[in-house]
């Protein structure tokens, strides 16, 4: 005879699986879903969102061209993620602190680094990290930025600054223990930190459903006592509105927030050239291409008479010209020296490092 279980874990599990619809302002046919948020934007703001996304798409296209020409180092393609990246980063203020991951170079540039610096970072030159922006360099170790974000946010709070820390990771990044540690510290100390998970469906090739049994990645914040929400990551208006609201909530002293953006990268994981055809189908890709963030907002702007193909083409041309100037500037930066690498290892070089500096200086002066 089947007995009623003492605890109905199945029901508890089902409860976890009930999730709310992601926040959306425009659907993929450019239909306004949330009129209140939509009406809160001026035409200038809508134009600015579009221009930033066009800029990011152009940056991606031109940079991948440079990459194919052998003129870049490691670079992570961003095409498809414009709404998620620009929408959230536009909610940042100058004095906010950014802790980006390697796919977040466009946000770093928006936050104040130059394209030349970004290119030098990609190539692997120290000048690429010497940006004036209040930011870490794009983090390579997945999860590391999350624990550092707790520290930066605590520092901002202790400094009594009107500023918060913004950090990014991907769907795979939420599996790292450090991601939980960082969020948990931020929750425990009620720190001004915004954790953004850009869920593009794949960690290199591993699909999102293999990362975790959790129904959403936003749920990962719940255990740390952090409010979290899913957002349509192909809808720049939703991404911006939610990030802006999160920043205000955090700045008011309410502690951290986590946002999961549902997005997609059209390209490969990195410029190193993995082939997405090995792990996803053309049909899968087409589903997401239909949700394209630029197409979606472009139609709204065209309907308002604020946008035209000619205008966009000219914009793309101008942006691409600026990226060509930037890479020329990067080409002109002198090569690094071993003596300088040694010099920057410690503030006061150790006796052994001092000896090695002298040896390399002598070689370099020949």
């Amino acid at each position: 005879m089947a007995q009623k279980p003492i605890v109905d874990f199945g029901a508890i599990k089902n409860g976890l699986d009930e999730v709310k619809k992601p926040v959306q302002v425009l659907d993929e046919n450019s239909k306004v879903i949330d009129k209140e948020i939509f009406d809160s934007f001026s035409d200038d703001e809508l134009l600015n969102f579009m221009e930033k996304m066009v800029w990011e798409r152009a940056l991606h296209d031109q940079t991948m061209n440079f990459s194919r020409q052998g003129r870049m180092g490691f670079y992570a393609p961003t095409s498809g993620e414009e709404a998620s990246e620009m929408g959230t980063v536009l909610a940042m203020e100058n004095n906010d602190y950014l802790l980006p991951a390697y796919r977040d170079v466009p946000q770093l540039i928006q936050h104040g680094a130059t394209v030349t610096e970004a290119y030098l970072w990609s190539r692997g030159h120290v000048v690429g990290n010497k940006f004036k922006a209040r930011s870490m360099m794009p983090q390579i170790i997945i999860g590391a930025a999350y624990v550092e974000t707790a520290g930066v946010a605590m520092g901002l709070k202790k400094n009594n600054e009107d500023a918060i820390a913004f950090t990014y990771t991907g769907d795979g990044g939420t599996s790292q223990g450090d991601s939980y540690e960082g969020m948990n510290f931020a929750g425990a100390f009620q720190l001004p930190a915004l954790f953004i998970v850009q869920n593009n469906g794949f960690a290199i090739s591993t699909p999102r459903n293999k990362q975790t049994a959790a129904k959403t990645l936003a749920q990962k914040a719940v255990a740390a006592g952090i409010p979290s929400i899913q957002v349509d990551g192909m809808d720049v208006l939703a991404c911006y509105a939610v990030a802006k609201a999160a920043r205000e909530y955090i700045l008011a002293g309410n502690g951290p927030v986590m946002i999961e953006t549902l997005t997609y990268r059209y390209g490969a994981h990195s410029s190193a050239g993995d082939d997405p055809k090995r792990y996803r189908t053309k049909e899968d890709e087409e589903v997401w291409i239909k949700k394209d963030p630029l197409v979606r907002l472009r139609k709204v702007l065209e309907d308002k008479g604020l946008w035209s193909e000619e205008k966009e083409d000219q914009m793309v041309e101008d942006y691409k010209a600026s990226f060509k100037d930037a890479i020329k500037e990067a080409d002109a930066v002198p090569a690094d020296k071993v003596s300088d690498m040694l010099q920057r290892t410690f503030e006061i070089p150790t006796p052994e490092v001092k000896k090695q500096i002298e040896i390399f200086r002598a070689k370099e002066s020949k």
Partner: protein, 325 residues
């Protein structure tokens, strides 16, 4: 001047740096109300408040990440890793992140963090509490590793570590915590982060040691002095960097050397010292380099420590071997 234990010396140093610099912060597991599991931070939270001295969640990577982020935003954090064996949980944060910060940003962004952590065998602790793990961290460019052998140095080195702008791993020897007392000044003083100390002058043989083994070497030096053997003992004090000049100067005089470490023999500080001597000062020697180190097994469970950790007997035996060469 007052007689103080190694722990009291460290508490003194923390008290001084918290008083001197309002940007210093002390945090970690149980460092607040409890004053640390060894009472090293006793009374500091009462004196400086919960904003400056505070408990963290139980997560080492989180603790060091917190420190690094605080360092980047203008603070001078002094986090504690409760036992050094737990530092493996934070290896990326220490080696992959903190130690590289100055290099990454060419000094434009830095994190002046001092990580305090107890280590060292002989007190019969649980697993992963006593291992000598300096060998993992001395291979890290950008990180200084400090291992005081006595209360006087512990206070002076800790103050230097906090005032220095590079990250420092400050290793505190568990066995020495309460087993020895020094007369130390109540006021502030510093001990340099790149100078070994000749703790006993001698003419027949040099013993290079650090941490608790310095005291074992001194016991042997006392014993052999009765037999008219004059042993010079060099205390490294810092194992990254290693002050090789002081070692070379000593062996120019004695022509013989024994290098002692509590850690396993493989790939470590002793090997680095031996290599530096071989490369730069081999002609000073008239006998092979002697080494005393723990066996290359996994660190023993508590009941195995007494037969495993090298001490005065092993040092004496090795000295006699090298002297008789």
């Amino acid at each position: 001047m007052a007689k103080k234990t190694y722990i009291q010396a460290i508490t003194d140093a923390l008290d001084i740096v918290l008083e001197d610099d309002p940007k210093t912060l002390v945090f970690g597991e149980d460092v607040g109300k409890n004053g640390g599991v060894f009472r090293t931070t006793q009374g500091l939270q009462d004196k400086y408040g919960e904003d400056r001295v505070f408990d963290t969640p139980l997560a080492e990577s989180g603790i060091i990440g917190l420190a690094t982020g605080l360092g980047l935003t203008g603070w001078r954090p002094i986090p504690e890793i409760q036992f050094m064996g737990f530092s493996f949980e934070a290896v990326d944060q220490i080696v992959g992140q903190l130690a590289r910060m100055r290099f990454r940003f060419d000094g434009e962004k830095t994190a002046p963090v001092v990580i305090r952590t107890p280590y060292g065998g002989g007190t019969h602790t649980a697993e992963m509490h006593a291992d000598n793990l300096e060998n993992y961290f001395t291979g890290t460019p950008g990180l200084r590793v400090v291992m005081p052998s006595n209360p006087y140095d512990a206070k002076g080195l800790l103050i230097s570590a906090v005032e220095n702008n590079d990250p420092v791993l400050f290793m505190e020897n568990l066995k020495l915590y309460r087993s020895m007392k020094d007369d130390i000044p109540d006021t502030k003083y510093t001990v340099p982060l790149d100078k070994a100390n000749v703790v006993r002058e001698g003419t027949d043989i040099t013993v290079v040691a650090y941490g608790a083994e310095v005291n074992e070497a001194l016991k042997v030096a006392d014993k052999l002095a009765e037999k008219n053997v004059s042993v010079e003992v060099v205390d490294l004090r810092t194992v990254s960097p290693i002050d090789t000049d002081t070692i070379f100067k000593s062996i120019e005089k004695t022509h013989k050397v024994v290098i002692v470490q509590e850690a396993q023999k493989m790939a470590g500080v002793g090997a680095t010292v031996a290599s530096a001597i071989s490369e730069n000062a081999i002609m000073s020697l008239d006998a092979p380099i002697g080494r005393v180190a723990a066996p290359d097994s996994v660190y023993p469970f508590a009941l195995g420590e007494d037969i495993w950790i090298p001490g005065a007997d092993e040092i004496e035996e090795k000295i006699n071997e090298i002297l008789g060469y």
